[in-house]
Amino acid sequence: MPEMTLPSHDRWFVASQKASIAYGNKFLVDDPASREPYSGAWNVEKAQYPLKKVSYLPTPTVSQEIPDVLFSGYRKIEDPFTQTNLVEGDEEQLQEIIFKLKTSPSLVCQEVADRLLTLFRDAKEDDPTYIGIVLGSLRNFYNFFQLHTELKCPSISLTPDNNIYISWRAKKNRLFSIHFLPKADVRFVIFKPNDRHPEKQIRLSGTATTDILKEMVDLHGVWNWIINEG
C-alpha cells in the first residue's frame, strides 16, 4: 500500500483554531505563538515538524464523500474562515458596543447610540454585504467617548470607507471634526475665529492618537465649546 507523509502533530489545526477567534466576541489578535506557524502561512516548510507515515487506499472505488475526520485534523474546523463569518462576527461586536452606549446612564451616549444605529442601518441598506461601520473605528470612537463623558452630542456621519466622523459646530464659525481611523488614531479639523482679525478664520488639521487628542486641541480652546455646561 502506498504511503504518504503528514505532520504528526496538529499544530496547523491549533493555529487554525486561533484564527477562528475572529468569529467570537473577542478581539482578533493576529499574534501567533513563536513556535506555531502563522495562521495564514499555509506553506510552512515540512521540515519544521516531525513526520509520520499514514496509510491510505489508492482505489477510485473509495467513497468520494469528504470523511468526517481527515488525516491532520483540517476537517475539525467546522466553520471555514470566510468573509461572511468575519462580517457576522464583527456585526455582533458592533451591536454590542452600540448596546453599551444605549444602556449607558448618559443621555448623550443614548443619543449617540440611536444615531449610530441609524447609520448602521443606512450603511447596510446601501450595501448589505458590507459590515456597515468599521469595527476598529467604532471602538476608537467608543473609547474616546468613555474617556470624555462631558461632551455634547456631535453630528455623526460615516466616511466613504465607513469610518466614524463627528463634528461640533458652534457660533462664530467654530468647527471641530474628528475622523476616527480603524486603529487608535484620529485626524481632526479645527475652524475658529481669528480674534485679532474678525474677518478671517483660523484653520488647522492634524493627526493624533485618541488618548492625547484633548490635550492637543485644548490649546485652541476647542473643549470649552464642545462640553456640556453644568
Partner: protein, 141 residues
C-alpha cells in the same frame, strides 16, 4: 467631451448618501474620497440641458435611481458652483489646493463629471467644500 474642464460659472450636483448626513444636514464626509478613488463623482447641471432647477433635480433623481443600488430615503443632493468651490479651496486650504472639475461622461450618465486633485486624507478640504454648498434637495422624489 471626456477631460474637458467644467467652466467656473457652471454648477455641479453631488449625491450625498444617508450616511453622509446627520439630522438632515449634509456633512463633510459627502466630499471625501473612498480609498482608491481618483475623483469625487458629480453631475454638471448645465450638461443636463434642462430648462430650470426643478427639471435638473428631477433628471438627477432619475439618474441616481438608474445607477445606484438604492437611493436612501435620507439621501440628499448638494448643488455647488464650480468657481466658488475652486476659489474657496484655493484661497483657504493650507496647501493652496487647485481643484479641477472635469467632464467624465458615462454611457448611462453623460453629465457625469469629477472633482480632481483631492486626496483620501483631505478632511479639511472636505469641510471647505461643504461650506460652499448653495442648495440641497432630497435625492428621492
Amino acid at each position: 467631451m471626456k477631460g474637458d474642464k467644467i467652466p467656473d460659472q457652471d454648477h455641479i450636483a453631488r449625491y450625498c448618501r444617508p450616511t453622509h448626513t446627520s439630522d438632515g444636514q449634509i456633512q463633510a464626509t459627502a466630499f471625501m474620497l473612498r480609498s482608491g478613488e481618483e475623483s469625487l463623482s458629480v453631475n454638471c447641471l448645465e450638461l443636463l440641458n434642462c430648462s430650470g432647477r426643478e427639471s435638473e433635480v428631477a433628471q438627477l433623481r432619475t439618474i441616481y435611481a438608474t445607477k445606484l443600488r438604492s437611493v436612501g430615503a435620507r439621501a440628499k443632493i448638494a448643488i455647488l458652483n464650480v468657481g466658488e468651490v475652486r476659489n474657496h479651496v484655493l484661497t483657504e486650504s493650507l496647501d493652496r489646493r487647485n481643484l479641477e472639475v472635469l467632464h467624465d461622461p458615462q454611457s448611462e450618465d453623460p453629465s457625469h463629471s469629477g472633482i480632481y486633485n483631492l486626496r483620501e486624507d483631505d478632511e479639511l478640504i472636505a469641510e471647505l467644500i461643504l461650506t460652499t454648498v448653495r442648495e440641497t434637495y432630497n435625492a428621492r422624489a
